[in-house]
C-alpha cells in the first residue's frame, strides 16, 4: 500500500518544535525580551514579578500533587509541568466577569481564579467530582470528556450576548468566555461544532488550545497536518499561534482575543504552542512512545527559567524576593500535604445527594433502604 504517513513528520517534528515562523513571542527561551508589531504590551515590574510568582506557585501545586499521588494520597494526577506560562498567561488575562471552561489540567488557571488547589486535589483523590462553586470564581468544573466544554463555553457566551454584556464599552460589564482544550481534543466533533456555533452567532468566546504536542501517546500530527491555529480560518474567525512557554506573549495574545470577544467581534482561536514535559497523568509512561531527546530540547524552553533570567538580568527581582517566594511555595506545599490528608471523605449516603434538584420518590426509597441496610452493620466491619 502507498506510503501515506512519514511525510507528516516534516510538518511538525522536533526540528520544528520552536513552533515555526508564525509563533508569537515576547520573551525568548534565553530570556530576551523581543517585540512584536501587533501583540506587544508594556509590562510593569510588578506584573512581571506577579507572573513569575504565579508560575512558581503553580509548578509547586503540580509537583506536590504528583508527589502526593506517588504516596497514595491521590488516585491519579494530571500534570501541567511545562505548561505554566500558557495557563498563567491565559488566566491573568481574564477579568472577574469573564468565565472559564477548563479541562482536567487547568490547575494554573484555577489558581488564577482563586480556587483553592486543595479542591483540585480532592477531585483526583476521589472525594468528589468538583468542590467549588463555579459561580464564585467564574470558573467551571473540570470537564473530563474531552472537548465537551467547548460547546458549554459557546453557549455561555451566547448567554452573555443575551444579557447585553458584550460591546457596551463598559469594561466592568463586557464579558467573554474562555474555553480550554488540548490538541487532541481539537479532533472531537464537539470542538468543531463549537467553532461553528461561535462563528454563526459571533459569540464572545476565546478558544484556548494548549498544543502540548501530545494527546497521551499520540503526537500532534495525528490530529492535524497543518498548524492547529489555522483550523480557525476554515470557520471564518482568526486563529493565532503563540509561544505557550512565554507568559508575556500568552498574556498579550489572550488579552487581545478576549478584548475582541468582549467588544463584540466574535471568537478567536489561540493556539498556545507548548509541551507536556511530564507524563499524561501519573499512570502514564511516556518512555513508551516518545524520545527523551525531544523532552531535553523542550527543557531549554522552560517557561519559568526564561522569565527568571529576564527578571534577574534586569534587576527586577533580588534574592530576597526569590527566597520569600520559595518560602511561600513551601507553605503552599505544606498546605496541600496537610490539607489533602485532612480532606473529609465522602460518606456512603452522599452518593445519593444532588442527583436531582428535586429528589425523586424512588431515589429517596433507595437511599433510605441503603441507610437502613448500613445500619444493620452497626459498627461491625463490612
Amino acid at each position: 500500500m502507498p506510503d501515506f504517513g512519514p511525510d507528516l513528520v516534516e510538518v511538525f517534528g522536533p526540528s520544528q518544535a520552536d513552533g515555526g515562523p508564525e509563533l508569537i513571542q515576547l520573551l525568548t527561551p534565553e530570556g530576551e525580551r523581543v517585540h512584536h508589531p501587533e501583540f506587544d504590551l508594556d509590562f510593569s515590574a510588578e506584573q512581571l514579578r506577579g507572573f513569575y510568582r504565579d508560575m512558581v506557585l503553580t509548578r509547586r501545586i503540580d509537583t506536590e500533587a504528583t508527589a502526593l499521588q506517588r504516596h497514595g494520597e491521590l488516585g491519579i494526577w494530571a500534570q501541567l509541568l511545562g505548561q505554566e506560562a500558557a495557563q498563567i498567561g491565559a488566566g491573568r488575562a481574564l477579568r472577574t466577569q469573564d468565565y472559564v471552561f477548563p479541562t482536567y489540567r487547568e490547575h494554573g488557571v484555577a489558581y488564577c481564579r482563586g480556587v483553592d488547589p486543595l479542591n483540585l486535589l480532592g477531585l483526583f483523590r476521589g472525594v468528589d467530582h468538583g468542590a467549588w462553586d463555579p459561580k464564585d470564581f467564574n470558573f467551571g468544573l473540570y470537564t473530563i470528556v474531552i472537548g465537551a466544554q467547548a460547546l458549554h463555553a459557546t453557549g455561555y457566551a451566547m448567554g452573555i450576548q443575551r444579557d447585553g454584556a458584550v460591546g457596551t464599552g463598559d469594561t466592568e460589564r463586557d464579558a467573554a468566555v474562555i474555553a480550554h482544550f488540548g490538541d487532541g481534543a481539537s479532533s472531537q466533533g464537539d470542538v468543531n461544532e463549537a467553532f461553528i456555533f461561535a462563528a454563526s452567532y459571533n459569540a464572545p468566546v476565546v478558544f484556548f488550545c494548549q498544543n502540548n504536542q501530545w494527546a497521551i501517546s499520540e503526537p500532534i500530527e495525528r490530529q492535524t497536518r497543518i498548524p492547529l491555529y489555522q483550523r480557525a480560518l476554515g470557520f471564518g474567525f482568526p486563529g493565532v499561534r503563540v509561544d505557550g512557554n512565554d507568559v508575556l506573549a500568552t498574556y498579550a495574545v489572550t488579552q487581545a482575543a478576549l478584548n475582541r470577544a468582549r467588544e463584540g467581534s466574535g471568537p478567536t482561536l489561540v493556539e498556545a504552542y507548548t509541551y507536556r514535559m511530564g507524563a499524561h497523568t501519573t499512570t502514564d509512561d511516556p518512555t513508551r512512545y516518545r524520545l527523551s531527546d525531544d523532552v531535553e530540547h523542550w527543557k531549554l524552553k522552560d517557561p519559568i527559567a526564561r522569565l527568571e533570567v529576564y527578571l534577574r538580568r534586569n534587576g527586577l527581582v533580588d534574592d530576597g524576593f526569590i527566597d520569600a517566594l520559595k518560602q511561600e511555595a513551601d507553605e503552599l506545599g505544606h498546605h496541600l500535604r496537610e490539607g489533602v490528608k485532612a480532606l473529609p471523605d465522602p460518606q456512603p449516603l452522599d452518593m445519593f445527594a444532588h442527583v436531582y434538584a428535586e429528589e425523586t420518590e424512588e431515589l429517596r426509597v433507595q437511599r433510605e433502604g441503603y441507610a437502613a441496610y448500613l445500619e444493620t452493620f452497626e459498627g461491625a466491619q463490612r
Binding site: F101, G130, D133, A150, A157, D190, V355, A357
Partner: protein, 331 residues
C-alpha cells in the same frame, strides 16, 4: 391571555404550542433552540409563531448539529437560562447523546447542586406516520436508564399544554417525549383555569377490574381502544397512563395490579430492555402474591424499525394488546 374559565378545543400540537408560549411569557429566561424552530415553526409547527413574537434571541435556529444544540444549551443553562431544545425527530437525538448523558444528566450531581440544568429536551417520538428510517424511534429507555435525567411522555392535548410548562418549570433536565402521530389526531377541551396534576405522576385513565393495562405516549390511545373493545366482550380493563417514565410513579400501578392481579404493559419501543421490562420487574417484586399471571409486555419487536409499509405490524396495536390480555386472563 384569558383569565376566565372559557375552554377551547385544541390538538396536541396546539397544546404544546400554547404551553411553550405561556412558559415564554411567564419567564424571560426561557429560550427555544433547535433546527428550523424559527420561521418555519419546526417541521411539526410546534413552535409556530414563537420567533415572530419573541424574537431571534429567544427562539434560536441553530446550525445543524444536535450535540452543538444541547452542548450550547448546557452553557446557556449555566448562565441562568432555561433552554427548551427541540430535536427534530427521535432518531436524531443520538449525536447529542454524549452531551445529554455525560453533561446534562451529571452537571447537578458533579457540582453538588450548584449548577442546575433546567433544560427540556423535546423529542417527537414513535412511529405510525409512514416515514423513512430514523423518523419513528422510541429512545426513552436509554434516557430513563440515566440517573440525573427525568423522562416524561404526554399522550393528549391537555397534558401537552400542562406538562410542557411543568417540565420547563422543573429545575431538573427533562426529556420530553411527544407522540408525533397524535400531534394533529384528536382535539380536547382545554380549560386554562384548571390546576393540573403534578408532572411526575401516573394517572388511571379508565377504571377496570380484570386486568391493568399500562401505556404511555402514543399507546395510551391504543390501550383505551382495547379497553373499549374488551368491554364489549365483558372484560373490564383498567388503563393507566404512566406519563412519567423516570421517575416511574408506581403507586397507582401497584394499587391497580393488586386489585386486578394482572398487568400488561405496552409501548412502541423494543420489548427487550424497554420501559416494560423495568415496570415488570418492579411489579413482580412488589405485587408478588397478588399476581395471578405473569406481567406481559406488548411492544415493538426487537428489530430495527421496519420499512413503513409494514410498520403497523411492528407497532403494538389493539389486536396484539387484546391477545395479550387474553393470554393473561387465560394463564
Amino acid at each position: 391571555m384569558s383569565t376566565g374559565t372559557t375552554t377551547q378545543k385544541i390538538t396536541l400540537a396546539k397544546g404544546l404550542n400554547m404551553g411553550l408560549r405561556k412558559a415564554m411569557e411567564d419567564d424571560p429566561k426561557v429560550l427555544i433552540m433547535g433546527e428550523d424552530v424559527g420561521k418555519l415553526g419546526g417541521v411539526f409547527r410546534i413552535t409556530d409563531g414563537l420567533q415572530k413574537d419573541f424574537g431571534e434571541d429567544r427562539v434560536i435556529d441553530s446550525p445543524l448539529a444536535e450535540s452543538g444544540i444541547v452542548g450550547t444549551a448546557v452553557g446557556l443553562a449555566l448562565r441562568g437560562y432555561r433552554p427548551v431544545v427541540e430535536i427534530q425527530f427521535d432518531g436524531f437525538v443520538y449525536p447529542a447523546y454524549d452531551q445529554i448523558v455525560c453533561q446534562v444528566a451529571k452537571m447537578h450531581y458533579r457540582s453538588k447542586g450548584r449548577s442546575p440544568m433546567p433544560m427540556v429536551i423535546r423529542i417527537p417520538f414513535g412511529g405510525g406516520i409512514g416515514a423513512v428510517e430514523h423518523h419513528s424511534e422510541s429512545p426513552e429507555a436509554q434516557f430513563a436508564h440515566t440517573p440525573g435525567l427525568k423522562v416524561v411522555a404526554c399522550s393528549n392535548p391537555i397534558d401537552g399544554y400542562w406538562m410542557i410548562q411543568q417540565a420547563i418549570a422543573s429545575d431538573d433536565p427533562v426529556i420530553f417525549l411527544e407522540p408525533k402521530r397524535q400531534y394533529h389526531a384528536d382535539k380536547a377541551d382545554l380549560d386554562e383555569a384548571e390546576t393540573p396534576e403534578p408532572l411526575f405522576t401516573s394517572r388511571v385513565v379508565r377504571r377496570g377490574t380484570d386486568a391493568t393495562v399500562l401505556a404511555y405516549g402514543p399507546t395510551v390511545k391504543t390501550a383505551m381502544k382495547a379497553a373499549e373493545a374488551a368491554a364489549t366482550e365483558g372484560t373490564s380493563l383498567e388503563v393507566i397512563d404512566l406519563r412519567t417514565l423516570s421517575p416511574l410513579d408506581m403507586g397507582p400501578v401497584f394499587e391497580s395490579v393488586r386489585r386486578t392481579g394482572r398487568a400488561i404493559i405496552t409501548h412502541e419501543a423494543h420489548v427487550n430492555l424497554g420501559i416494560g421490562s423495568e415496570v415488570t420487574a418492579r411489579i413482580q417484586e412488589q405485587c408478588f402474591y397478588s399476581l395471578e399471571s405473569p406481567v406481559l409486555r406488548v411492544g415493538g419487536f426487537d428489530t430495527p424499525y421496519p420499512a413503513s409499509r409494514i410498520e403497523e405490524d411492528y407497532l403494538p396495536d389493539l389486536d396484539r394488546l387484546l391477545d395479550a390480555v387474553d393470554r393473561s386472563l387465560e394463564f
